[in-house]
Every structure is written in structure tokens, then in C-alpha cells.
Symmetry: C2
Subunit: 459 residues, 2 copies
Amino acid sequence: MPMFIETCTAPTNIAVIKYWGKDEARGLNTPINSSASVTLDQDDLCAMTSIAASSDFVADRLWLNGKEEDTAGNGTHAKRLRKCLAEMRGLARDRVDASGAVVCTATELASYKVHVVSRNTFPTAAGLASSAAGYACLVHTLAKLYNVEEAYEGQLSTIARQGSGSACRSLYGGFVKWVKGRKPDATDSMAVCVADQAHWPELRAVILVINAGKKETPSTEGMQTSVETSPLLAFRAESVVEPRLAAMEAAYRARDFEAFGKLTMQDSNQFHATCLDTYPPIFYLNDVSRQAIRLCHAFNEHKGRILAAYTFDAGPNAVIYCEAKDRDELLAFMLHFFPPPRSGVESYTNKPALLKAAAAMPLEPALLAKGNELRTPAAGDVKMIYCTAVGDGPRTLGADEALLDAATGFPLEQKLQKWQQTLGPAGGGGGCPVAPTVSTYAAVAVAAIGFLLVLKKSN
Amino acid sequence: MPMFIETCTAPTNIAVIKYWGKDEARGLNTPINSSASVTLDQDDLCAMTSIAASSDFVADRLWLNGKEEDTAGNGTHAKRLRKCLAEMRGLARDRVDASGAVVCTATELASYKVHVVSRNTFPTAAGLASSAAGYACLVHTLAKLYNVEEAYEGQLSTIARQGSGSACRSLYGGFVKWVKGRKPDATDSMAVCVADQAHWPELRAVILVINAGKKETPSTEGMQTSVETSPLLAFRAESVVEPRLAAMEAAYRARDFEAFGKLTMQDSNQFHATCLDTYPPIFYLNDVSRQAIRLCHAFNEHKGRILAAYTFDAGPNAVIYCEAKDRDELLAFMLHFFPPPRSGVESYTNKPALLKAAAAMPLEPALLAKGNELRTPAAGDVKMIYCTAVGDGPRTLGADEALLDAATGFPLEQKLQKWQQTLGPAGGGGGCPVAPTVSTYAAVAVAAIGFLLVLKKSN
């Protein structure tokens, strides 16, 4: 029985020019405006997927952290999953060995059922664009499995986009633009790498995972309501985004943090403004999010320039971009106002050493005074602080990393069990591959029962 | 020594189509868009002012709740106060007695210095458009004192507007529109009564006075920043407000609460959206405000129609409009989730009997269940619940109501002392004339030292 296995990881991405709203007229999960994002380092946050194809498999099956999920159902995401599979099978080419000899024809390959095992290496609860990483990883792994070569640049991203809009931006590293496109068939609505991760290696991100209160509006549902009811969103998509995106692209190319940071904060605020203009209004920011925002502005005012730039997706978590030279002081400032729990920093971050150093850093009295006007330091409002940086695109791993047994083609139980065990209450400490949790697909599969409410994905 | 004294009260107003942003090009405190408001019953909330003019007075003087304030300073509001005085003196006409005989010529009258005593009959801390009521009351009382007749309809509102923009809307009862106007001299930027209080007498308002956290951006400063930085505000002023205002006017004329309520909520949310789109962003709503918003939508969803409509000015307080037939159930619902303090309802409202009745009202289990998904009932988030209704315009009171001694022209000490004593921690229980507090002018006079930060006026 021939069996082929591929294993890959894919990064998350956090938009700096937000995507909010599908273009129902064109369909195919195209956006009402172009968007742009920074790809985050998958050493800190990533989705990991192994896919096996074999003539012996009787069905396409999916395991998420040891739990098998339905792939045949009518849930939006089960359907999207099947759509991605079908599209990729259509692009299959012969698999060849090192010598170039065909080991399996495209036709055979496409006829084989697949076993998919996937997980995120960060807490789903963190809601850090896990579906973007998940779908990007799925498409990239299938591309390896089926030996796919893009017929045109961005072809894969048009497929990933149909899984989860922002997933297409996770197919590249660095600064990635998702072009809205114009063609009726939407084949031109794709992600484009504007500058790879090597262009601005000093770019860092400090992520405050903020405790959400009551359940939030799922982004898929939320953006549809916004498109239907917000006059401000229509105006934003038509008139604000394009010039802003051009300015953002120029700022990134020039590594001009002042311009990049201001545009990032303005666009995040405008996105949340359109949510508020939606009827009924949608709220993703809470009082803690607002304190993080004010603290960022206080930090910048104190410094006399923009050194820290927050952005929020469809949830209360703050992603704060900065440059390496300013990261530690920013971290010390935020850590002072959002201190770790009594149990210490170990379970509070993916970089305990960094946080310990930051905690020991003295803060300028004037800066501290500014902060004290905005918040009284208290633990509990922030669940975790992630430290990461701009990163590269999807990676192909070796056979030894596979999550599937090369002999049976079934999930490697001991690995799955390990993931389960390492699942902490907060979803674990994050960081590859220490603390996996319910992956994207789990979220995806149970979206119908509202699991996605904690995902705060999209954008 | 001839002395003339007039005493009047003026109501507050709460905008349903919001005013946010001055037209700096035209100046004279004209708005970038027209707005509309409902005047609230001054039996519940009002400003009260006595003004005496006498040849014996040596200076224009101002007393606020027994405390004399500077009127000669360079503070924005001291200047505005003087401007209103100067303009009104310019409109003075001879004072005549019952027989029509002139008792004082316009020239003499205008040459006399004045003594002004003013107070609000509701807690300034409540931040319920107290400056609107205050300036409207000042202008109306001066009009009586100087026997002013408008040369054109709305002339007085163009003067009140220069004290505080929204003050012009407090010069009339019922549904009042502040027309932006077009003339360069801004004499056409005035308030117009669209429908008086008798048109829709069933209209009620339940006001949740919500505890503010950290200090907020004063509205005068906030709206200027918004005009300078928010692309969404410019679009709103240019393209959204006019058609929305026309629809609102039609809804009010037709007493169509469904349409009136939806537009009211949408416009409140859009105003706060433009605050969020401001750079740096301005936040007036807090998590409790948001819970009040969600509870309103839950109430309406449960009823299958819009029976309650919230609106928020430049602060966290919720003003919820409804009709008389739905008021008690709405009150019971809100009271359940925002219960009074242990001390009871007496100091929690201006209508203890109403709240006691509401507290005893059984809530539909399904409605209760909806609410429980949104908030866990707890005291403290709401300071007070006011119950009021649509009301009439400024009133002229009799000599016996005067706050000034007819013999000396100085404040009546015992009355002033009484106001001081009745000043509760929350600013007293509200309601004419039981619980006065620091009035508008106090706020106005000390704006420079940030007192206005708790006023949440404007709109």
C-alpha cells in the first residue's frame, strides 16, 4: 500500500489594515476592501499539520488534538474544508522521487483519501488568528502532498482564502497584502508578499491576551451584519482603505515606525468604530483593552514619538507592535500595569526570561506617573503576555516531525496524548511545540455550537 | 434705586441626532451638522436662575450655590458668559408696567450691572446636559429682564448657542432641531421647535447615571480633535446626518417609536464610533454602558419590536427613551440588573414610588433569561436612575421664587445655605427644587481647572 505523508507548520498574521466584510456580490470569500498584515514568528505561534494520503484509506478523516472531527457535515467550515481539499486535488501533479521518477501519478494521488492531523501550538483561547494559520497550513501541506505548483502567483492563496479569508495572508512571511481584486471569478483576490521577514527584522510584537467577559459576536456573523447596516463601513471600504494601504505599504518599505505605528492604531480604531456603527452594535474592545490603548498612547507621549502601536482584531486582545530597541521598556511598562499572577511568569508568557528581565527594569518616574493616571496595577485582567516578532511563511518539516504513523497512517497516540496533557487551564503556556490546544479545525468543526465565540479570529 | 428682578427655569435636552464638531470656518459656535433633541421635563431636571439689574450695582456678579464666581476672567466660559450678557443688553427694550407706561428705558436698563444667581436642580455629577440648561436659562432670564422681543425667530437661540452649542435646543419644549444654517454671519444657525411637548406626551426617559471610571475628554476639546482627525466624522456630517434627521423628524411627527427608537440608537452609536475613529481615540462608553445597550436590545428582541431606545452623550450615562405604556416594565428590567444600594431607592432616584412599584413587578422568565446572559445583577455600577418625560421650554417664575433679595439685590442666604446642605455625596437626589448642586456656571467658571471633566455635557 503506497502512502505519502507531509508535515508543515504555518504562522499566524495580525492585520494592520483590517479586513472586515465580504463582498457578497462577487462571493468566493472576497473582501470589500484590501487589507495588509504582518506575519508573526511561527517559532512562537503556529499551526502544525500532517496529512497522509493512501489507497488504503476509506474516508477523508480529521483529528484535532486527538479528537476526531466530522468532515462530512454541513457546517460552514466542514464545507470549506472539503472545498479546499477538492480544489487542491484538482491541482495534483505526479509525485516524483529524487531521481525524478514518478512514484505516484496525479490521478492516483487525487483519488486517495487523506488523514489530516492538526493542532495549534498556542492557546486557541488566545484567539490569535488561529483559523488563518490553520487553513494556511492545510493548503500548504496539501500543496506538498500533491506536488502542486502554482499556475499563477497567488493561486494557492485564492484557495486558502476560501477556507478563511485572512488565511491567505499566512502563506507568506513579512508584510503581506491581500489584494481585493477585480475579476468576477475572484482569481485575482490573493495575498501578495510586499516585503519578506528579512526586510524589517527589528519588528516585534507584544501580545496582551485579555480576559473576555461575556461571549462576543463571531467575526463571520459580525462582518456580515456590519456590511448590511453600517454606513461608515461602506465609506471606509470605498474611500479610506486604499490610500491608507498605500501609505502603510510605503511606511513598511521605509521601515518608518512612526508612520507604520500611527496608521496601525488609526486603522484598528476605525475597524472597531465600524463595529460600533453596526446595528445592533458590536463590541470587541472592553475596558481593559481601552486601558491598554491609553497606556500605549501614554508611552508614546512620554517618549515624544510613536514607539508602540496597538491593534485589535475581533476580540479584546492587544497586539502591540514595536521595534527591538524599545521592546523591553514597553514590556516593563505593560508588565507593571498588568502584572503576572502570584504563581509567577512561567505560565504567564512564552518568554519567561524576557518578562523576568523586564520586571526588574526600572521605569522612568514620569512615565510611571502617566500610567498611574490610567490604570491601577492589578493581576487577572491579562491572562498571558506573548512576545514574538515578524516571521517567515509556512515551513515543510521532516518525516520525524510527522503527527501520523508512517506505518498505519493514523495519529501517533502518544503525541496526541502529550498534547492533551500539556493543555493548561489557560490553554497552556504557548510556544512550539510545548502547549498545543484545540486547533483551528476543532474550532472550525464546532463553530456551529458556538465554539468560535472564543476564537476572535479574522481581520 | 430702581431694581428689576426676573427668575426663570430652563430644561435640559438630550440629542437623538448628535451634535459633535464645530465649524471652525464659520466660527460663532456653529456645528458641522444639524442635530435634534428631545427636551426633558424641568419638573425633574432644570436650571434655575434669578437675575437682578440695578443702578446701585457696581459690577456684574455671579453666585453659584452660594459661592461667588469670577466673571471677569479669561476662561472660555467666563468670556462666553460676558458675550451673552453683551448681546442681550444690545437687544434691551424699555420696561413697561401693566398700563404700558415706561418704568425704565432700554438705555438705562442696559447700563445697569447685574447680579446673577443660578443653580441646577439635579446633580452636576449626573452630567445631564447641565450647561445646555444653564445657558438657556441665562438667556431666557435676560430676555425677560431686558424685555427682549426676537427681531427674527430663533434670534435668542443664536445667542444661547454661543454660550453652549446645545443650549439653543433648551429654549423650546418637545422635539427641537438645531439647524446648522448657511449664512456667513451664522444668524441662521438656530434651534427650531419641530413639535412641542403636547405632540407626543407619552414619551418617557429612564436615565441610568453610570459611574465613570477615569476622567474623560471634555466634549469641547474632544469634538475639536474629532473634527481634525476622524475621516468618519467628516463623512457622517456631510452624508449621513441630513437624511437621518429628516427620517427622525418624520418619525417624531408620526409618533412612530419603532423608527424614532432605531434612529436614536443608530445615531448614538455612530457618534461614539466617530469618537473611536478620532486620534488618539476618545472613549465615553464603558463596560457598564455597553451592558445597558445590550440589555436594551435584549428587551426589544424579547418584545419583537423596539420599545426602548438608548442614547449616550459625551459620557457613560444611558438615557433610554420609551413610551408611557412600556416604561414600568423597562424600569423593572433595568432595576433588576442595576439594583439600588442597600440604603434603598430613596437616594437612588427622583421617583422612589415608581422604582418601588417597578421592583415589585414580576419579569417574564424568558426576558430575565436573556438579560442574565448579558449581566449579573449587582449594585454600584449605576449611581442613580432618573425617571422623566418630554417637557416644555423655559418658564418664568413669580417674584416669590426669586433667589435674590428684592430689597438688597443680593442672594438670599438662607436659600443658598439650604442648597449647600441638601448637597448629597452623589450630588443629592435630584428633582426640583430638592437637591440642587454645583450649577452649570460653577462648572463653566472652573472649566479651566478641569471640573468640566465630570460634566459630560454637549451633544
